[in-house]
Amino acid sequence: MLFKILEVYARPDFPEKLRQHIVLSLVALLVAIAIAMPVALMIRNTRLGAAIAINIGNIGRAVPSLAILALALPLFGIGFGSALVALTALAIPPILINASTGLREVDKGIIDAARGMGLSGNQILAGIQLPIAAPVIFAGIKTSAVQTVASATLATFIGGGGLGDLIVEGYSRRGPEILLAGALAVAILALITEIGFGLLERGFTPKGLKIAQKRRG
């Protein structure tokens, strides 16, 4: 069985499916960041804005990923682009929620102190709010990334390609080795994403915050 699975990975179309999966996930994630971050920054000082963003984010998180992908089919047709739009919509909520709560939870005293030292609004944002909120923001990006890699598996149902193609092929042709090869590749990719973004998250935590976290125990 193991040998048969490895044979699937040696197939000429495997690298292409893997590439599609990665491109789908990566582009969706980057576009989601490009949409969610400016929104979070714009509403960082308004309570109403934050409440709206968090509520939209929460509802967005309740929407099943298969539902979003399936709805993209009648709206945007079949194919890669359609899957990309759906995956982007799915990737936004976790980033939006974490970025806006992270930015809002920065201690007001610290911001007051910075303002008292004569820092401008932009300096406070770049030098204080963003670095302090960075771990929370990155946790959101990590959640989103792992979820996007998982949901990209479903892209196959609307003709979007990716590793899900192998699962569908294995299932419909009763080829257990193709089914397992696809499933294992997806699981490993999700695990790598989880670990990779975990390291990134640690890398983006400012040194001062790490020391403070350690002291607190």
């Binding site: 929407v63 979003i68 709805l71 089919l73 079949i78």
Partner: protein, 233 residues
């Protein structure tokens, strides 16, 4: 595109009519209602089984702290496997037939991490003074657990049930791919029959079900926190 059915689908989808209300009316009691009921059944049974497993493990991990990291490692690993992949792996196991059972196993596996984590967090949130006071009043360990700790931890446990339920309702749609039933059946049949109305009916109902469950459990969570309500008033 390798799948000719999907190419055909594109032609059909270019018709402007997205929702065929007549079809919905005709098939409501035959197709739509059973799918909705099946979905509720799948989600309900899975959360129930998951709770039966997660509560004891959570209580034990809160007490025997050394067991907690390995428990979160294993359940975290289960949680991170993409659902379609987990379903595919499950039906590859000899003796596991396609149908609702592997779907329920997968849904239970996904809920464990959230439920165990919230049980432990809930028990941790009980102030030590409260437990001391209970002990001082002569309560046994078992009485403290059932009469003091668990009631106080309940709002956080329900918060976990809420997240787990919403997650499960979403993932259950994918279970239809391996004949698990539920609203996903409408979505996959809609894709197969090239019929947008079915896709939309399944997707919209699954979303509505998830949001309804979310709001109901949120209300329950608030109700179980009478001290927070008093403070706000």
């Amino acid at each position: 595109m390798s799948n000719p059915a999907l190419l055909l689908l594109q032609d059909v989808l270019e018709e402007p009519k997205l929702i065929d209300w007549e079809w919905i009316g005709e098939n409501f009691s035959e197709d739509i209602l059973p799918a909705l009921q099946g979905h509720i059944f799948l989600s309900f049974v899975s959360v129930g089984i998951a709770l039966l497993i997660a509560l004891p493990i959570g209580i034990l991990s809160a007490r025997y702290r050394k067991a907690y990291p390995p428990v979160t490692f294993v359940t975290g690993a289960l949680y991170s496997i993409p659902s379609l992949a987990l379903l595919a792996i499950l039906i590859s196991i000899p003796g596991v037939a396609i149908g609702p059972s592997p779907v329920i196993i997968a849904l239970v596996a996904y809920s464990l991490l959230i439920l165990i984590r919230n049980t432990v967090a809930g028990l941790d949130s009980v102030p030590p003074e409260t437990k001391d006071a209970a002990r001082g009043m002569g309560l046994t360990d078992r009485q403290i657990l059932f009469r003091v700790e668990l009631p106080l931890a309940l709002p956080i446990i329900v918060a976990g049930i809420r997240i787990a339920t919403v997650t499960i309702i979403g993932i259950a749609t994918i279970g239809a791919y391996i004949n698990g039933g539920g609203l996903g059946t409408l979505i996959f049949d809609g894709i197969g029959r090239q019929f947008p109305t079915m896709i939309i009916a399944g997707a919209v109902l699954a979303t509505a079900l998830a949001i309804t469950a979310d709001l109901l459990l949120l209300a329950l969570e608030r109700y179980l926190r009478p001290w927070a309500r008093v403070r706000r008033a």
